[in-house]
């Protein structure tokens, strides 16, 4: 019952979580009325038919007359066979809608995540190594600024200054430019900058605070005394234990931001990505798209948590798996 078994169990668990969450969302949506059904009633009335009957017909047509458990089973089967339904408000299959949107979301979220995960802990560590120097204050100031400024607010202001006043960046996101092109880099620079500024602060701070605890730990002092190189001390004796508590927050935090920020930043910069897809779907009560995007976000979150747990166990040898 070692690491292997633990990982197997965690992966299995990830599937369970996804399943539970999607079921909850499905339940929430099943409880709310379907706009298409009342539309049918109106139409029937306009044609001199019986609205109640028409409503019934519409329910049948949309499979809403089946008992609840039957609809649920159908839905779950659909999820696993990748038949995620048809979007009423976009008139295309849900999977297609999600893939379309994902294409744009990925373009800014990959550079964003990479920058945050690489730069965050490093700057934090650097800060704590030079605690209370002007560099630390500058880094802390930047972290706080980024964290404190609401990213949609920041985005609008940057767009106003650099897009409208100075004309350096396009005001409207252009979907026609190739992914790897200068034009695309220019138009994505602002969203990525806003997102990085907004999310790096927390990572920097947690790693600074945590690593400053380890800076004074006895084993670091010992290492220093033994004459271990500065780089090695930071890399091995400070960064690694810092990553343990950090890893518990960073993934959850980033995922939280992924949903929230992607939505707002996409609205501000008019990027037709996943966040906006979801927001529109909720507003328009496009049930199948809401479920599809929720499923997707949940999947990402679960996988993220899984990775986080694995990292946690690998990094902290003190935790043992045998009894939990």
């Amino acid at each position: 019952m070692g690491l292997g078994w633990y990982i197997t169990r965690r992966v299995a668990w990830a599937f369970v979580v996804t399943f539970v969450i999607v079921s909850i969302t499905w339940g929430l949506l099943a409880a709310s009325p379907d706009p298409q059904v009342s539309q049918a009633a109106t139409q029937a009335a306009l044609q001199g038919g019986n609205p109640a009957e028409a409503q019934e017909r519409a329910r049948e047509l949309r499979g809403l007359d089946a008992p609840l458990y039957q609809r649920y089973i159908d839905y779950v089967t659909g999820v696993y066979t990748l038949d995620w339904g048809w979007s009423q408000t976009r008139n295309q299959p849900v999977t297609e809608a999600i893939l379309d949107a994902l294409y744009y979301t990925i373009q800014y979220s990959i550079p964003w995540t990479v920058l945050v995960v690489l730069l965050g802990p490093l700057v934090g560590l650097y800060s704590s190594a030079n605690q209370y120097s002007w560099k630390d204050h500058a880094a802390t100031g930047f972290a706080f600024f980024g964290y404190a400024i609401p990213n949609f607010f920041f985005g609008i202001i940057l767009l106003l200054i650099f897009g409208v006043q100075l004309g350096w960046i396009p005001v409207i996101y252009n979907t026609d430019v190739p992914v790897f092109s200068v034009a695309n880099a220019i138009q994505l620079a602002m969203p990525v900058f806003v997102l990085v500024t907004g999310s790096i602060g927390a990572v920097m701070r947690v790693s600074r605070n945590e690593s400053s605890e380890f800076m004074q730990a006895d084993f670091v002092k010992t290492a220093k005394a033994k004459g271990v190189s500065q780089l090695r001390i930071y890399g091995r004796h400070v960064l690694r234990p810092t990553m343990v508590p950090l890893s518990t927050t960073i993934v959850g935090y980033l995922l939280f931001l992924f949903v929230g920020s992607s939505l707002l930043v996409e609205v501000v910069f008019s990027i037709p990505g996943l966040g906006r897809l979801l927001y529109r779907a909720i507003i328009a009560q496009d049930t199948s798209v809401v479920l599809g995007t929720t499923l997707f976000f949940t999947f990402v979150a679960t996988v993220g948590n899984l990775i986080q747990d694995l990292v946690y166990t690998v990094l902290d040898p003190r935790i043992n798996f045998d009894d939990r």
Binding site: T42, Q43, L46, G49, A52, W86, N91, G163, T175, S270
Partner: protein, 551 residues
């Protein structure tokens, strides 16, 4: 554009915005040019007596692919097999009741036989149909497959349009926008009886429509030249007028701004009895809001004050009739409001306690007023109304924002009862029955919806004023003989008769105050300087294919 379109399927689209997008690529049957003049596109319509209308389909209209030429058969098939069918549920279904008889009388001619004569039939937009190839619809008709028809890619993405539109739709990216390219074969180029400028049409090589949710970004793009057109909110018009790179056109439109009172049983949530049902009370409220201040303060004068269900520029506006002008002059003010309300409540337990109107249990009357979330002008209007009601009528109004779709579904539309037979009428969710049939949630007042006044043919507006029509979410029972007057209007045979009936109708509407009729805001649209085509009248855009850029 501020929000994406749901569908481009001409059979299932009910939104005006998407309609415009469809028409870039697919011309409908006809349109109206300035002066309320019929302008034939796919077909011309003529009549002798208003009862039988003959439509002549233009020759030389070609679908794309293998669908061949557009014939009368296509239209007749569409109307009889889809719009008049039980199963398809198209949006035009209401325009084609089964009593209307449609048949092809030749390759390029079909006739429409109406149950009652209607001299203004094309003006109702009932016979407004898009050409769609019969072969495309047939498989779905055979299977009665409404869902399949709605989801058909060829119809949905307008791939059959051939030479039928000035532009061809290349790509529809659901959330970001649409791109079109110039259609070299556009049929109107060679058509007779069209203005000279069409011979070279269309003038733009490509057309991009983008969905940008942020108003700030849309205007920024207009200012920086990234886009050629965007709606400009009233507060910004003078700024964009002063810019060299943009022009702003003030385009009147037929939708009014109304504050609707809920006269159904779940309205007037502040105490027993529903005072909104009392005409005198409604008249009192009509005196509470200063309409001129509203028009200036909210719309910066890019709107007209509204007293009755017709804009001033309409041919049917009763110029000489004595229409009561609530919210102006003597019919405005605290005293005008209170005296009417006092009279209205004289036989109830409501009373004025000093300045404040109280309900029978001695609590101040408090009403909710809903507006669409995120709509700045609408919120300003709601807050102004709330303040005026407080000041002039002594009624507390709490202003609440709500998403439009949400409001429509849970407040505006009623829940259709299981057994519709037990009610005198039940006409679908917008009028599912008499006042005891209500929506899921209670509400008092709303400014979420502006309603169409149909300036081309005001008889169409009759649905708003009849107890048992298909559209009466607010539970209005007219105190005047609405059905009879509208009946007379639809049967009128000449203009003079129409004028006098409409004058009578509009006088009654103004007096009865079914809702607070506030203003006719104009569309204020900004265009890049040098774009020739937009006009400052209701018909602007009728000749869109002939618009060009003046370099």
């Amino acid at each position: 554009m501020s929000s994406p379109v749901e569908t481009l399927n001409p059979l299932y689209n009910s939104e005006a915005g998407a309609g415009t997008l469809i028409e870039y690529a697919l011309d409908p049957g006809y349109t109206w040019r300035p002066g309320s003049e019929y302008f034939p596109l796919a077909y011309d319509m003529t009549t002798d007596n208003g009862e039988v209308w003959v439509a002549n389909v233009r020759e030389g209209l070609q679908y794309g692919g293998d669908y061949g030429e557009v014939t009368a058969e296509d239209f007749v098939y569409q109307i009889t097999q889809l719009h008049q069918s039980e199963w398809a549920g198209t949006v035009d279904a209401a325009s084609w009741p089964s009593e209307v008889n449609v048949e092809a009388t030749g390759d390029y001619e079909f006739q429409i036989e109406l149950p009652n004569p209607n001299a203004l039939y094309p003006e109702t937009f009932d016979p407004y149909v898009y050409p769609i190839p019969m072969e495309l619809m047939q498989p779905y008709v055979g299977n009665q497959d409404a869902q399949g028809l709605q989801q058909d890619t060829e119809i949905l993405e307008l791939q059959f349009t051939g030479n039928l539109g000035a532009y061809t739709l290349d790509q529809w990216n659901r959330s970001s926008g649409l791109s079109y390219s110039r259609n070299d074969d556009y049929y109107l180029k060679n058509a007779e009886g069209v203005p000279e400028v069409f011979t070279q049409a269309p003038y733009f090589d490509s057309l991009e429509v983008q969905v940008v949710q942020e108003e700030q970004s849309r205007l920024g793009a207009l200012e920086s030249g990234e886009t050629d057109s965007a709606a400009v909110p009233p507060n910004r018009v003078s700024r964009f007028r002063n810019l060299e790179s943009t022009d702003v056109y003030v385009i009147p439109q037929p939708y009014n701004e109304v504050c609707v009172y809920n006269m159904r049983d779940n309205g007037w949530t502040t105490g027993p009895g529903n005072l909104f049902r009392n005409k005198q009370f409604r008249q009192g409220l009509g005196c509470a809001v200063d309409k001129q201040r509203l028009v200036t303060g909210v719309f910066r004068d890019f709107a007209d004050v509204e007293y009755t269900w017709q804009p001033r520029w309409s041919n049917w506006y009763p110029q000489n009739a004595d229409v009561m002008q609530f919210g102006t002059g003597e019919l405005y003010g605290s005293e005008a409001t209170r005296s009417r309300i006092r009279e209205a409540i004289s036989d109830t337990d409501y009373s004025y306690n000093g300045e404040t109107l109280q309900n029978p249990s001695g609590q101040p009357v408090e009403l909710s007023l809903y507006h669409s979330a995120g709509q700045n002008t609408e919120r300003s209007m709601a807050e102004f109304i709330a303040q005026e009601f407080g000041r002039n009528a002594g009624i507390n109004v709490s202003v609440e924002a709500i998403d439009g779709a949400q409001f429509s579904q849970n407040y505006w539309q009623q829940q259709v009862p299981e057994n519709t037979d037990q009610y005198e009428w039940s006409n679908g969710s917008y009028n599912a029955g008499p006042r005891e049939v209500t929506s899921a949630n209670a509400w008092d007042m709303t400014v979420v919806f502006g309603l169409n006044t149909y300036p081309l043919n005001p008889t169409t507006a009759s649905v708003f004023f009849q107890r048992d029509s298909s559209y009466n979410p607010y539970g209005y029972y007219p105190s005047w003989n609405a059905s009879e007057l509208f009946e007379r209007a639809s049967n009128a045979t000449n203009d003079q008769e129409l004028q006098s009936v409409f004058a009578e109708i509009f006088r009654n509407i103004a007096e009865d105050q079914p809702m607070a009729m506030l203003a006719f805001p104009a569309d204020t649209v900004g265009y890049a300087a040098g774009i020739e085509g937009p006009q400052e009248n209701f018909f602007s855009g009728w000749d869109f294919p002939a618009w060009y850029r003046n370099e």
